[in-house]
């Protein structure tokens, strides 16, 4: 538990910290919508601190399409998570960098715990937003289909009326998964070293 990390593993923890810095510059997630009228597709990126369209006016155009079925507008200022997510990432980067000085296996366990807590909370929160967007529909909406809801998939593809909606991790999300895998590897190799 308090054993020192090997040099390679210290480097890997440092790498995880560096990858987390990239999250500030890369989208975490991407949602892509394809419809008969949009063969080229429309889409949005979810970043730690903002939501943007795949191209300049995609977000406005998604909101316009969504208004037919009475979904709320996707507006950054209405999503408070975007304000504090950068601090959570900052805390984890700090943890990774701190491990360089206090290079104990315990720190890696704590890191993994953090990743699972943040990841689970994040995914749950993302799902909750999607649920709310898909279910809380304006009763005055022009198009109202009994029993129909429009919750986008958390991961994977789903047909919603004329729109095929696909949701996948983007570079930022991929680096998050990779970070967890790297930390898992560090734990595995440290424990093997112990046994040997």
């Amino acid at each position: 538990m308090f054993q020192k990390l090997s040099t390679t593993n210290r480097f890997l923890v440092f790498l995880v910290g560096t990858m987390l810095i990239l999250l500030y510059f890369l989208p975490l997630w991407s949602i892509h919508l394809v419809a008969p009228q949009y063969p080229e597709g429309l889409g949005m990126y979810i970043w730690m601190s903002k939501i943007t369209g795949h191209s300049a006016h995609d977000l406005q155009n998604i909101n316009l399409l969504n208004h037919y079925v009475g979904m709320d507008k996707i507006i950054e200022s209405s999503i408070p998570e975007l304000r504090f997510m950068p601090y959570i990432a900052g805390f984890m980067i700090f943890g990774a960098m701190f491990t360089l000085f206090y290079d104990r296996l315990l720190m890696v366990y704590l890191g993994i715990l953090n990743f699972f807590l943040v990841g689970a909370a994040g995914l749950w929160d993302f799902w909750r937003w999607e649920y709310n967007y898909g279910h809380h529909l304006n009763p005055d909406a022009p198009i109202s289909i009994p029993g129909m809801t429009y919750q986008p998939p958390l991961i994977g593809c789903k047909q919603l009326l004329n729109i095929t909606s696909c949701s996948w991790p983007h570079w930022g999300g991929a680096f998050l998964f990779l970070s967890v895998l790297l930390l898992g590897y560090v734990v595995w190799s440290e424990r093997r070293k112990n046994r040997g």
């Binding site: 300049a56 006016h57 406005q60 155009n61 316009l64 208004h67 037919y68 022009p142 198009i143």
Partner: protein, 640 residues
């Protein structure tokens, strides 16, 4: 004598047979074109795109039509000199100033010769210029928005036909007078035209290389012949432009007889670079002439500026600036080959296709003995001194020639209704194909530039008759598409065109498709009456004038209801808040006396509504925009 009468008989027979071909219902030749791969060659599968844009002048429609080739599909009609109810051009407050002239608002013209802007003699795809023949004008179309951006009136001219032909780097556009008139205008007897009292002008229109804005630099006074078609030189002949003339007889009536007497008319060779030099040396004088320059900045109201005064120069005051090259007979086309060495005259009543050599011409002007006489201060050279060669017995009525860049030329022949392919240099005829019927111009992509893309050729015909299903006395014009990639020309398809295409410009799709604009950015909308959010929608009253700042977005307008008083003049400034490609709105009010305003995403347009009678008047969206388009309807109320 005998052989002369023989050839006369032959000529008559040919003429008769061509007339017969026109009137004979059995002449539906070309039925075998589907043999082989012609159908495949013109088939553009669903979802696929054409290889070329083809811009065809609308003639008496005043428009430019945009087709896809090889499919022959019509994509767009761009209104230029004529009003267009479809999108409100010439009616709405943004574009009506585009049609201002010194004669007032003119909702029509006769548009003939589209020309794509050039850099180093090669199409650069920035702008398309086209002439208005009736009330002398030149228009510039923006090839990102495919809209008319500017119209410049040409003063001191009558019939702007030999126009707007460009120099090698679009330094200048040339505009020459077709119908000689008194310069300056005055009511002298028309009969005095025969005494040379009517004149023509060659106008040099400067084009700003960054903005494309046009301005008149210089007019050169020339004898009152009919200046028909022109092309400017390239490479070695960069400094020169060449204009065909007819009616060198200077007849003023019964021209069909009176203007066909001279065995040879002229090609006017004009050294524009020297003219520019002489202008800078102060050889031109201030002269009268008023004209309009109408400019339509993107997504803003067009601005009309009336200008007066030009610089006018007599050719005698700038020696060497102009020469007349005798050319048989009433020539139409003056077509410069891609190397810039040969100038082909389309002598429409000639029995040969005369080809002038630029290098021989340059040599000839060194030797005074080559000068036959002077006309209007312009030396006339001996025909032989500039002649590069003649294509013998090409066809009847050779009109216009384009090139493939592989040493071949293609000439349209009106009377014998065919296209002949011939070799530059050996002047031998290589091939001929029929056109249905009576071809005017022909068109090869870049066929008048230094770098043709010679895969296809289009015949722009004047007579259609039985080519398509009959639709009453007025039928479309016909066009035929030929494959010219092989040694023999091969007809691929036949399609109707709108208006009367005179001349056309084919452009490889890659030059324009990627930069074609999709929307107007709302952020960059600087229209003085733009409304960029629904919260800003409002009605502002200024006495009897009411400005309605209106927005349109799927699927409603704001404000919801507009209240007016009888006697009000209301301007509805409608801004589309959309920013999605091809999500357009239209706006019309019952009883509005102008056509609808058609709004592209991010665009602001203004239509006038005179509130004359009490009542409630619906307004609605006229361009199917969305699933709730039909619900996009509201009311104007007019009260006492």
């Amino acid at each position: 004598m005998k052989s002369a009468s023989k050839s006369y008989i032959l000529f008559s027979l040919l003429l008769l047979s061509s007339l017969f071909a026109l009137s004979c219902g059995k002449s539906r030749q070309g039925g075998d074109v589907l043999a082989g791969d012609a159908a495949q060659r013109v088939y553009v599968a669903p979802g696929q795109k054409d290889e070329f844009y083809w811009f065809m002048s609308g003639g008496f429609s005043g428009h430019v039509a945009v087709y896809g080739i090889p499919s022959g599909r019509l994509f767009k009609q761009i209104p230029v000199f004529s009003v267009y109810p479809e999108n409100g051009y010439g009616f709405d407050e943004e574009t009506k100033n585009m049609l201002m002239t010194t004669h007032g608002f003119i909702p029509w013209d006769d548009a003939h010769h589209p020309e794509i802007s050039l850099t180093k003699g090669v199409q650069d795809g920035r702008w398309l210029f086209i002439n208005g023949n009736n009330t002398p004008r030149i228009a510039r179309l923006d090839l990102k928005t495919f809209d008319t951006a500017e119209i410049l009136e040409i003063p001191n001219s009558g019939g702007n036909h030999a126009s707007p032909f460009l120099t090698e780097n679009t330094e200048y556009l040339m505009a020459a007078t077709r119908f000689a008139v008194p310069v300056p205008q005055q009511a002298i007897p028309v009969e005095s035209a025969a005494d040379g009292k009517f004149k023509g002008t060659i106008t040099m229109v400067k084009v700003d290389p960054q903005t494309g804005r046009m301005g008149i630099d210089l007019q050169v006074l020339v004898p009152g012949f009919d200046y028909d078609i022109a092309h400017c030189g390239k490479g070695p002949s960069h400094d020169w432009c060449f204009f065909t003339t007819y009616n060198t007889e200077q007849a003023y009536k019964m021209l069909e007889i009176e203007a066909s007497k001279n065995d040879k008319d002229y090609i006017l060779a004009f050294n524009w670079a020297l003219a520019q030099h002489c202008l800078s040396q102060g050889k031109a004088k201030d002269f009268s002439g008023t004209y309009y320059d109408n400019f339509h900045p993107e997504n803003k109201p067009a601005v009309s500026e009336k200008r007066s005064g030009v610089k006018l120069m007599n050719p005698a005051d700038c020696p060497g600036v102009m020469y007349f090259l005798p050319t048989p007979k009433s020539p139409h086309g003056a077509d410069v080959d891609p190397t810039g060495e040969y100038i082909v005259g389309g002598g429409k009543l000639a029995t040969v296709i005369p080809v002038h050599s630029f290098s021989k011409f340059q040599k000839a002007i060194q030797d005074k003995s080559n000068i036959l006489k002077e006309v209007g201060g312009i030396p006339v050279l001996k025909y032989e001194s500039t002649l590069g060669g003649e294509v013998q017995k090409p066809c009847l009525g050779p009109l216009h020639t384009e090139f493939d860049g592989k040493g071949n030329a293609y000439t349209s022949c009106f009377v014998s209704s065919e296209i002949v392919k011939w070799k530059i240099g050996s002047w031998e005829i290589l091939d001929r194909v029929p056109a249905y019927y009576s071809i005017g111009h022909l068109s090869i992509a870049g066929g008048d530039s230094a770098q043709p893309s010679a895969k296809y050729m289009i015949a722009l015909n004047k007579i259609t008759k039985d080519r398509y299903l009959p639709v009453g006395p007025e039928v479309p014009q016909s066009a035929q598409l030929y494959d010219i990639s092989g040694s023999k020309m091969k007809m691929l398809s036949d399609f109707p065109t709108v208006g009367e295409p005179h001349y056309a410009q084919g452009v490889p799709a890659a030059l324009l498709a990627d930069k074609a604009q999709k929307i107007y950015e709302l952020d960059k909308n600087d229209h003085p009456f733009a409304t960029k959010t629904e919260e800003e929608a409002k009605v502002v009253r200024d006495g009897k004038v009411v400005h309605v700042y209106m927005t349109a977005i799927r699927s409603h307008f704001k404000p919801d209801v507009v209240e007016l008083k009888v006697g009000d003049t209301a301007f509805f400034h409608v801004t589309s808040l959309e920013q999605d490609y091809d999500i357009d709105h239209g706006f019309a009010i019952e009883g509005m006396t102008v056509p609808n305003a058609l709004l592209m995403p991010g665009e602001t347009k203004t239509v006038r509504f005179d509130a004359t009678t009490e009542g409630v008047y619906p307004f609605y969206c006229t361009d199917f925009c969305s699933a709730l388009h039909q619900e996009m309807q509201q009311y104007v109320r007019v009260t006492k």
